[in-house]
């Protein structure tokens, strides 16, 4: 069983600031890390390998510096690592990156491709699906877990409140969530990443990579106002008394009085069992 994991080196967005004049990310002095979603992907792949055997190959596209994250994946236990790095790749958007990665991975032996559901710097979540489309294989997004049973992949997707279970025997690509696995610490190993230039990717169309192959134009970046805030906003148009109550309630509207049950453990258990709704959930 061969697993290919796509990873990306990203700035640690906990530390990132926006330059107020240019509205660009300030990258100077910001530490680079492996995209946490991808880190979970590497971990999941290593666990699959440990349970079912096989080989884990890690691929990244980026500047020479991105070797750091590939080395980290090797140290965690990956078998091989390739860095697609070439001056002609510079300026690639998600379409070009997806094309390049699919071209390279298409030349490898693989049963499963693992991508992070998104990268914390751009959060487009597009590269995985683009690779799958280019390779014409099935894809699963928002994946929380993956296991092998005989010839089958068993995939768990996390969708809103629900967990979906899927099964397939085909070659697939999965985009995994960052909380799907806690990555292990690496131990320094003798393996090193191999650098791959444009010439070494078979059948690569130079017009489809780099700036030339990238239709995306970033018009403006600014701090989003819709980010989840840690404070509650109170409707200014409510009467004063209601504004105060909303603040005290932490922004939650109180709709009905909740009925309290009190008593000893035994009597409480009896009371709970006698609630009509309980018959629906109890066997």
């Amino acid at each position: 069983m061969n697993i290919v994991v796509c990873i990306k080196q990203v700035p640690d967005t906990n530390e990132v600031q926006i330059n107020k004049e240019t509205n660009n990310l300030v990258r100077e002095g910001v530490p680079s890390i492996m995209n946490p979603f991808d880190e979970a992907g590497v971990e999941l792949s290593l666990r699959l390998k440990e349970n079912y055997g096989g080989k884990v190959t890690v691929v990244s596209m980026g500047p020479g510096q991105a070797e750091e994250v590939l080395q980290q994946a090797l140290d965690m236990g990956a078998d091989e690592a390739y860095l697609l790095s070439d001056r002609t790749f510079a300026g690639s958007d998600t379409l070009a990156t997806g094309y390049l990665l699919s071209q390279f991975i298409g030349g490898l032996e693989y049963d499963l491709i693992v991508c992070g559901a998104e990268a914390i710097d751009g959060s487009t979540g597009q590269v995985g699906p683009i690779i799958a489309e280019n390779l014409n294989i099935a894809q699963f997004t928002y994946v929380n877990g993956i296991a092998r049973e005989g010839k089958k992949w068993k995939i768990t997707r996390s969708v809103g409140k629900y967990m979906e279970q899927h099964e397939t025997e085909q070659k697939i690509l999965v985009c995994v969530m960052r909380q799907s696995a806690v990555p292990r610490e690496g131990k320094s190993c003798g393996r090193t990443p191999e650098k791959v230039g444009a010439g070494a990717v078979e059948g690569l169309n130079p017009d489809r990579v780099g700036s030339a192959g990238s239709p995306t134009r970033v018009v403006k970046i600014q701090m989003s106002d819709s980010r989840q805030k840690s404070y509650v906003v109170i409707d200014d148009t409510l009467p004063a008394r209601e504004r105060i109550q909303m603040i005290i309630n932490g922004g939650i509207e109180q709709k009905a009085q909740v009925e309290f049950m009190r008593g000893s453990a035994e009597s409480l258990a009896q009371k709970i069992l006698s609630i009509p709704e309980m018959s629906k959930v109890l066997p």
């Binding site: 701090m223 980010r227 805030k229 840690s230 404070y231 509650v232 906003v233 109170i234 200014d236 148009t237 009467p239 004063a240 008394r241 504004r243 105060i244 603040i247 005290i248 932490g250 009925e259 309290f260 009190r262 008593g263 000893s264």
Partner: protein, 656 residues
């Protein structure tokens, strides 16, 4: 080292308001201290040594600026212990404050206010307002200001600003906030004038803008002028945020250098000095909106008591600077501890309002920090190592025992503490179960951390007796054995009747609380009010009988107002000015304390008695009689509240 803590990159970074450089983002917000000297008519409001010490302490603790609240006009005082900013007799002490504060790289900002329709004096000589109308919560009517008077007041503002600029203060702030004259001018509820100072928005803004202009002319273009702005009055018929933002825009146009967020009014004083019922950071949305509305710097306020919270609000772009008032009263070293990364060492304000507000403007103290207002004796650097290390045995792991152990251990004594139960915290373990009182748990959380940090040897589940004392052979014993609640003997009871329990039993064992509950209050503090809050929240049908004229007469006002609101909303019946004479069967006979008229209430399954406790001092007396060096602290001396027992313990710890 300063500013090197990676986690607080924003909070610890410098900032500039105009040309005023601030070394970090911690701003000590203005507040009434009640420390100025009052020697009667015209000799009041004198800025005292105690005032100076109070602000210098916060500068020592690492704040970037201290804001000193002042009255401008000696004829219209919030209180006679409120410094008068325009009084030339204050010049020397103002100069000394600036000089002292600057030694710590801290800025000194004056906040000027005219009491207007508000005062803490009861009754006041005269209150003034744009139109004749009292604050809705106040019974004292006002005088409508005449134009000549307005000119005089304006002169006082200018005089005060110039006086303080002259002695080296760094900025001036005007209060258009929860109390005072200027807000009433901009408020459509209070300003009904028909001249050029009322009616349209521009007219209502005129007087504050004239004052700003006059001050600007006097202090020059580079001296920062800030406004503490009430964004939402929280009064029915008053203005709310949209209007507040409109005012903010107009102030920015007028050349104001910064805005400091504020909310509430005397009619909603629990929003201006919010007790723990009001969530942490409740006003951040107002600061965030201000920040979107204006380009000048914004100071956040409102239950901000932790550097992590402060860093988060800055990174979420709610404000440029973090205003803390009560937190820095409680722990003046919050900024320095943040720099050192010693977050567990920070003593968080629990927003109980008992020390700082409960004294009703007499003077600001702090329940947890005996050094607040007593900086000279208990401030930073006053805790010195003991001459000789002694072996200290503390009996009791309640608040006073823990506090005494902390202080003794910090002074280098070898301290062991014995607690008979399985937890440290004493009565606070019951208090924190009351609705909205969980934050009181910080009192023992902080002390527990200090005991650990300073190597106090803690023994739980161990009752101290004479034998153990002989065995340990300590040099000094601290008796912190607490108190036990007493059911008054004037209540006649038949044994077979209703379940009668004391308030501590009720808080400890909720299964003892029935469905029809009568709570008797003969103490006026949280023992009854807090238990009633708990019992009604559990859904019990509750009657509260109090011997006082109203329930919670000794509970601090912001807390009690909201407590009474909750109790009445949950349908509790409160009977004031009555005592209990007899409990028989399910009937309770109550008696009016004035007329002695009796009434019988019935149908109860539980009666909870909240009356006095009595000191548990048997062991103290026994050991003292045996000639031991033993000192009592806390309830063991006399049952009291947290502030008093912590003060006891601080003294005892320093006395060893």
């Amino acid at each position: 080292m300063e500013g090197t803590n990676q986690k607080f990159t924003k909070l610890l970074s410098p900032f500039k308001i105009g040309k005023m450089e601030l070394k970090n983002r911690f701003i000590f917000l203005p507040h009434l201290t009640g420390y100025a000297i009052d020697e009667g008519w015209m000799d009041c409001g004198l800025f005292s040594e105690r005032n100076i010490q109070h602000y210098v302490e916060r500068a020592k603790g690492g704040a970037a600026a201290v804001t000193v609240s002042q009255n401008v006009d000696p004829h219209s005082m919030m209180s006679d212990e409120y410094p008068v900013g325009s009084d030339p007799r204050n010049r020397e002490n103002f100069r000394r404050l600036a000089e002292e504060v600057h030694k710590y790289g801290c800025r000194c900002i004056t906040q000027l206010n005219h009491g207007g329709h508000n005062t803490l004096k009861n009754p006041p000589q005269i209150l003034v307002a744009p139109s004749q109308m009292p604050e809705p919560s106040c019974h004292f009517n006002t005088k409508e200001l005449e134009k000549e008077e307005m000119e005089q007041i304006k002169d006082y503002y200018v005089k005060a600003a110039v006086l303080q600029q002259g002695v080296g203060w760094d900025a001036v702030e005007l209060k258009i906030a929860h109390d005072g004259l200027l807000r009433t001018f901009i408020s459509p509820l209070f300003n009904k004038r028909e001249d050029e100072y009322g009616g349209s928005f521009e007219n209502m803004m005129r007087y504050p803008l004239e004052i700003i202009e006059a001050i600007r002319k006097a202090v020059g273009p580079d001296y920062p002028i800030g406004i503490r702005l009430c964004v939402d009055e929280f009064i029915e018929g008053g203005y709310s945020m949209e209007y507040g933002l409109k005012v903010a825009r107009r102030l920015e146009e007028a050349g104001v250098d910064y805005l400091s967020t504020d909310a509430g009014s005397f009619s909603s004083f629990y929003m201006e000095i919010p007790p723990a019922v009001v969530p942490l950071g409740f006003a951040l949305y107002m600061s965030a909106e201000l920040k979107k509305t204006v380009d000048i710097p914004v100071i956040a306020f409102g239950r901000i008591n932790d550097p992590v919270q402060a860093e988060m609000l800055l990174s979420e772009n709610c404000a440029d600077l973090v205003g803390m008032c009560r937190q820095l009263i409680c722990d003046p070293e919050t900024p320095n501890k943040t720099m050192r990364g010693e977050l567990d060492d920070i003593r968080h304000c629990i927003a109980c309002n008992e020390g700082c507000l409960g004294n009703d403007g007499i003077d600001v103290e702090c329940v947890q920090n005996p050094g607040a207002g007593r900086e000279k004796y208990f401030g930073i650097g006053t805790l010195t190592p003991a001459e000789a290390g002694k072996k200290v045995l503390v009996i009791g792991g309640g608040i006073s025992g823990m506090k005494a152990a902390e202080i003794a251990a910090k002074r280098g004594h070898s301290v062991s503490l014995y607690e008979q139960s399985d937890k440290l915290g004493g009565q606070v373990l019951l208090i924190e179960k009351m609705p909205y009182r969980a934050e009181v748990g910080e009192v023992y959380r902080y002390l527990k951390y200090q005991l650990k940090r300073h190597g106090v040897d803690i023994h739980l589940n161990t009752r101290v007796d004479r034998q153990l004392v002989e065995q340990e052979a300590p040099d000094v014993i601290i008796a912190a054995t607490g108190s036990v609640p007493v059911i008054p003997d004037y209540i006649k009871m038949d044994e077979a009747g209703i379940r009668v329990i004391d308030c501590r039993q009720a808080m400890r064992h909720l299964e003892l609380i029935g469905q029809k509950v009568l709570i008797f209050d003969d103490i006026g503090y949280y023992q009854a009010g807090g238990t009633a809050d708990y019992v009604t929240a559990l859904g019990a049908d509750t009657t509260i009988v109090t011997t006082s004229n109203f329930l919670g007469c000794d509970i601090e006002g912001t807390n009690n107002t909201l407590l009474l609101k909750r109790l009445y909303e949950r349908g509790a019946e409160i009977i004031a000015s009555h005592t209990i004479s007899e409990i028989k069967g399910d009937k309770v006979t109550i008696r009016n304390v004035y007329s002695q008229a009796e009434r019988v209430l019935g149908g109860y399954d539980t009666v909870i008695i909240a009356a006095q406790s009595s000191s548990d001092n048997q062991l103290y007396k026994e050991l003292k009689a045996a000639g031991k060096d033993i000192r009592a602290v806390g309830d063991c001396v006399a049952p009291r509240a947290i502030e008093q027992v912590i003060f006891d313990a601080e003294l005892a710890g320093r006395g060893i």
